[in-house]
Symmetry: C2
Subunit: 148 residues, 2 copies
DNA sequence: CCGAACTGGGACTATTTTAGTCCTAGTTAG
DNA sequence: CTAACTAGGACTAAAATAGTCCCAGTTCGG
């Protein structure tokens, strides 16, 4: 339906791991713990560091630590850091968008996009790692379609 | 941030065009009106027909017409028809998902996924083509980030 | 002061998705 | 019976994504 990139997914996993404590973790350590390729984790941490979601410590014994408290980091920020702020409609104003009905469509797309961003911004990393999901009433999970 | 495929976008455009009236339109006609490649529009209409969003009429003078009233078609259905029911998290249960903290993360992902699906299901094709966006209060559009 | 353990940044390649084209078969109006 | 259509799928092309690697800079510990 709507896809989140693997990077965004990885980014959240990495952040979830980091959220365990306030300590400094090296990329290698995170990779080992998560069972991911070291180079990939390193890349992800670099991206997260650039967006100030994690703070980096240079040199030997260096690594990364969460820049803020898990309560103060939303998954929207993580996704943005990994995927960039790409809106769901990527209509780059090409020629096929001239008709009035289409433009009004665009306006609605933006509204929908906003709802999604809002939903993601409302969930903090702390909530994400909580065993009891509070994001939405979980009786609604049945709505989940069979994945492709 | 979150990407909608071009096909889903096209599908909505095609459906918006079809929603103008209850008449039968050939793929060629739709393509011409929308300024899109005929083969592509044809493919999109076939997909929409398979999901019963449009009804097809075979033979000469054939074509497609909206299967239901625009009020009764949600954009979630259109997106599903085009992209398939792919949830935002595509974790296929690989080895890196063993830890408890991750699994709880998955549960929350499903909740978020549901919110998004809900938002899309609430918007009908009729609302989508309406010039005045009612989907969300539009004072919030400022939240739209600069696209990549 | 040197070497080992790190991050920073980016170039590069491989892989997978996505988009788009085309062909053949079947249906129907005139 | 032919022209105008859709049905379905095979195929190719293009682009986005994921993943690897390299080199430079920083810091710790001996």
């Amino acid at each position: 339906m709507l896809r989140l990139s693997k990077f965004a997914d990885y980014g959240c996993q990495v952040m979830a791991y980091m959220a365990q404590d306030k300590a400094v973790h090296s990329a290698t350590e995170v990779a080992t713990s998560l069972g991911m390729a070291a180079a990939t984790v390193s890349k992800i941490l670099k991206m997260l560091a650039r967006e100030n979601l994690v703070a980096s410590v240079l040199g030997a014994k260096g690594g990364y630590a969460l820049a803020r408290h898990p309560q103060q980091i939303s998954i929207a920020e993580i996704i943005n850091a990994m995927d960039g702020p790409i809106s769901i409609t990527q209509c780059s104003g090409t020629t096929s968008c001239e008709r009035e009905s289409f433009c009004s469509t665009r306006g609605n797309w933006q509204g929908i996009n906003h709802i999604i961003q809002d939903a993601l911004a409302k969930v903090s990393l702390a909530e994400m790692i909580a065993p009891k999901p509070q994001v939405v009433n979980m009786r609604t999970i049945r709505s989940r379609d069979v994945s492709a």
